[in-house]
Homo-oligomer: 118 residues x 2
């Protein structure tokens, strides 16, 4: 099926599917490094994306502890949960609202594919 890639450009901040997926994987794994690894990202890259998000939003989206006996860990905050939820709601609303235009564009392709397939 046609997928919609949606990135938000705020003044000086950007939010797209990559960062949202990173938040979700941090929530699932409790670790920035593990989340990044699952996405084929270096540890450094994953940390830098988290720092970028934490700097852009008034409240941090991820909190983390480094080292310690448990090896440190990371948690998605309530603000982070809200961002995940709002992003998906936005994506769903956009896809629904644009369905007719999406279908019309898809029908114009050389190989229109199967709209019912995900």
């Amino acid at each position: 099926m046609t997928r919609l890639f949606l990135r938000l450009f705020f003044d000086g901040a950007m939010l797209g599917p990559g960062k949202v997926e990173l938040l979700e994987r941090i929530r699932a794994r409790g670790s920035i490094a593990a989340a990044g690894r699952e996405m084929g990202m270096s540890y450094r890259r994953a940390w830098s994306l988290v720092e970028e998000m934490n700097a852009a939003f008034a409240e941090p989206l991820v909190t983390s502890t480094r080292g310690g006996p448990g090896g440190g860990g990371a948690e998605v905050t309530p603000a982070g949960e809200t961002v995940i939820t709002r992003y998906h709601a936005l994506h769903a609303a956009a896809t629904a609202a644009g369905a007719a235009d999406l279908a019309a564009l898809q029908a114009m392709l050389r190989e229109p594919g199967d709209m019912s397939r995900e």
Copy 2:
């Protein structure tokens, strides 16, 4: 204001704001090279994007004549016009449908900015 970046992933084809802008500039300038130049693109890059679009859609979006006394030129076809129109309609519908979520995300930023500003 918050801008929504919207890219469509069809099976094997991609359509985003860059290609749509290129189509619009080709329409305005009657030349692929001039349109690409305005966007800071090499001649080669602009041509390759046009070829990609023409290959993906059942009908070409751009027709062109090379050389000749007038130096050749390019035209956006009716199919190309439809793609431009549908893309903008999709973007407008998505932005309207997602307005509440966009505003909520923007309000969570450290510097929420001015929603009334374009």
